[in-house]
């Protein structure tokens, strides 16, 4: 079930350069959310008419609150970063399918603002009793969410500048650490996802990746956010899938990157 709600900001904190963590009070959205889903957040400034899709980073089902962690990259996220506690805004969610959690050793691979959805994923897998490794790619030594992730998983770090962990990509870090697992859950920039897909194929590991595209409706109606699918898709009868409705999580072999 999806809801349109006016949510209230309950905390807002800068956790790294340009990266913010916000908890919001929802009515039902948090209750229904599963790891890997996202919400559409709307700007209050009227010149910006489209919602911004942001992953659900953490949920507190009892309090019906949820957390998002986002990078300021443009005017919309800049607006969000200035929301103060008590302020309200429109949100639609939870949206998308989320990860299919399997009862087998999990390897979470994420880069940049692909890291936030990994937190709720790690939490849920850990709760299921699954052994979780999380490989995070950061730009530098600003390791946002690392401590949160360590509560539920063994965290392995790669940094672009080599200031912490492996200098290089998440794949470099995986190789260096020799970590092994049965299922990959991944989120991050497309070049990273391509490498992850390649790694999964080479090592014959089940691999779920979360994709990104510009969105308008966020609920599968407008066909803005498609990706190329290998098979003719049921809904479209052509080789495309809607990231917002059929995804954002796909099995790596289903989609072309």
């Amino acid at each position: 079930m999806k809801y349109k709600e006016i949510v209230t900001v309950i905390s807002q904190e800068q956790i790294a350069t340009g990266i913010y963590s916000m908890w919001i009070q929802t009515k039902d959205i948090a209750k229904d959310a599963v790891p890997g889903q996202f919400i559409s957040i709307y700007c209050k400034e009227g010149s910006r008419i489209l919602p911004r899709p942001i992953s659900i980073c953490e949920v507190d089902k009892e309090a019906d609150t949820l957390r998002i962690v986002y990078r300021v990259v443009g005017k919309g996220t800049d607006e969000f970063s200035k929301f103060s506690v008590g302020e309200t805004t429109q949100v639609v969610g939870p949206l998308g399918n989320g990860y299919t959690l399997e009862n087998r050793t999990a390897l979470l691979i994420a880069g940049g603002v692909g890291i936030p959805p990994m937190l709720e994923t790690a939490k849920a897998l850990n709760f299921m009793g699954v052994k979780v490794f999380t490989v995070c790619g950061y730009r530098n030594n600003e390791l946002f969410l690392k401590e949160d992730l360590e509560k539920y998983s063994t965290v392995i770090i790669a940094t672009d500048d080599g200031s912490v962990g492996t200098k290089g990509t998440v794949i470099d870090a995986i190789k260096e650490s020799g970590v092994e697992a049965d299922v990959i859950y991944s989120c991050g920039p497309t070049p990273m996802l391509r490498a992850v897909k390649q790694y999964a194929i080479e090592n014959d590991i089940i691999c779920q990746i979360s994709l990104e595209e510009k969105m308008a409706c966020g609920i599968g109606a407008c066909l803005a956010c498609v990706c190329k699918s290998k098979e003719v898709d049921d809904h479209s009868q052509v080789h495309t899938k809607r990231i917002c409705a059929d995804g954002p999580v796909f099995y790596a072999q289903e989609v072309e990157l």
């Binding site: 999806k2 910006r48 409706c217 966020g218 498609v226 009868q237 495309t240």
Partner: protein, 300 residues
């Protein structure tokens, strides 16, 4: 209070529809909107065969609006008839099927396939700026507009709405051509061709280079065209372009639209159609008007 309007013999419970392409076939929005409360559901454009649409990015936000170049991705009329029409028949609303094509034959194939389906009207999109071969080429030449309207009317068993492009010097010329071709109604406006450049990547924000502009930013152009057309032809008009609320809808109705469609606003607020409806009701209450038909086109 009477909100019912009649277009070409089809009686609508109220004048609020959604605009083709922004609402799918209604399934997705039915989680937010009771489709029974809409005057009509206007479907995404349907072609004779499945169309893959354009490469991504397909949309871009602009100041107070957006560009889209979806490229009319659709599953083809066969799947549409089997899957979407039965879904829509479950609701107490009218069904308007939007039809697209690359050649006149394409359009006619869809029109024929739909002719025995339980749909209420067909809206012929001769104004899509985002596909190379079809659509807008027809909509910018009055002779083509008249010819395709005639051809469609000859085959169609349901009343026909021709959907006009705003990318013309004089919209009344196209409206008169469609009227001469025998159309039962007109809908306007489709999107205005625009472009956005990603200055940092130094490329187009949309893979198709240009896209169709829609949303609140375009409303003044749409109201002007509805007004001009309402004063140039006698067929009823479905007005659209940037409608977000009841006040916006009233501008179109006062300018001469018999019904209104809500497009981009659905992305700004999934219950926008319902806000438009209740806004119209509020306006009528405030101005003590019993029948919406008394307001159509009264600003001259």
């Amino acid at each position: 209070m009477n909100l019912g309007v009649n277009i070409a013999g089809v009686q609508f419970e109220n004048p609020v529809m959604e605009a083709s392409g922004t609402f799918g076939s209604g399934v997705e929005f039915s989680e937010f909107v009771d489709l029974n409360k809409l005057g009509a559901v206007v479907t995404k454009g349907v072609a004779n065969v499945p169309w893959p649409g354009n490469p991504t990015p397909r949309i871009a936000e602009t100041y107070g609006g957006m560009l889209n170049a979806i490229g009319l991705q659709n599953p083809g009329v066969e799947v549409f008839c089997k899957r979407d029409i039965p879904f829509l028949k479950k609701f107490n609303t009218k069904i308007i099927v939007n039809v697209c094509g690359k050649t006149v034959e394409d359009y006619l194939e869809v029109v024929e396939r739909l002719s025995d389906e339980p749909i209420d009207m067909m809206e012929i999109n001769i104004s899509c700026p985002n596909v190379k071969e079809g659509g807008i080429a027809f909509g910018q030449d009055p002779k083509c507009v008249e010819a395709i309207t005639k051809a469609v009317k000859a085959k169609a068993k349901q009343p026909v709405i021709m959907k006009l492009s705003p990318n013309v010097a004089d919209i009344t010329v196209m409206a008169k051509a469609a009227e001469a071709g025998g159309t039962d109604a007109l809908s306007l406006i489709n999107t205005i061709t625009g472009m956005k450049i990603d200055i940092h990547k130094q490329t187009f924000a949309i893979a198709n280079k240009t896209g169709g502009m829609s949303g609140p930013a375009v409303k003044p152009v749409a109201v002007r065209m509805v007004y001009q057309v309402a004063n140039a032809v006698s067929v009823p008009i479905i007005g659209m372009g940037g409608i977000m609320n009841g006040d916006d809808a009233m501008e179109f109705i006062l300018a001469g639209a018999t019904a209104v469609s809500v497009g981009t606003a659905n992305f700004m607020n999934p219950t926008a159609t319902m806000d438009v409806l209740s806004g119209i009701e509020n306006y009528m209450r405030m101005h003590n008007v019993e029948d919406i038909n008394q307001l159509i086109g009264i600003v001259k």
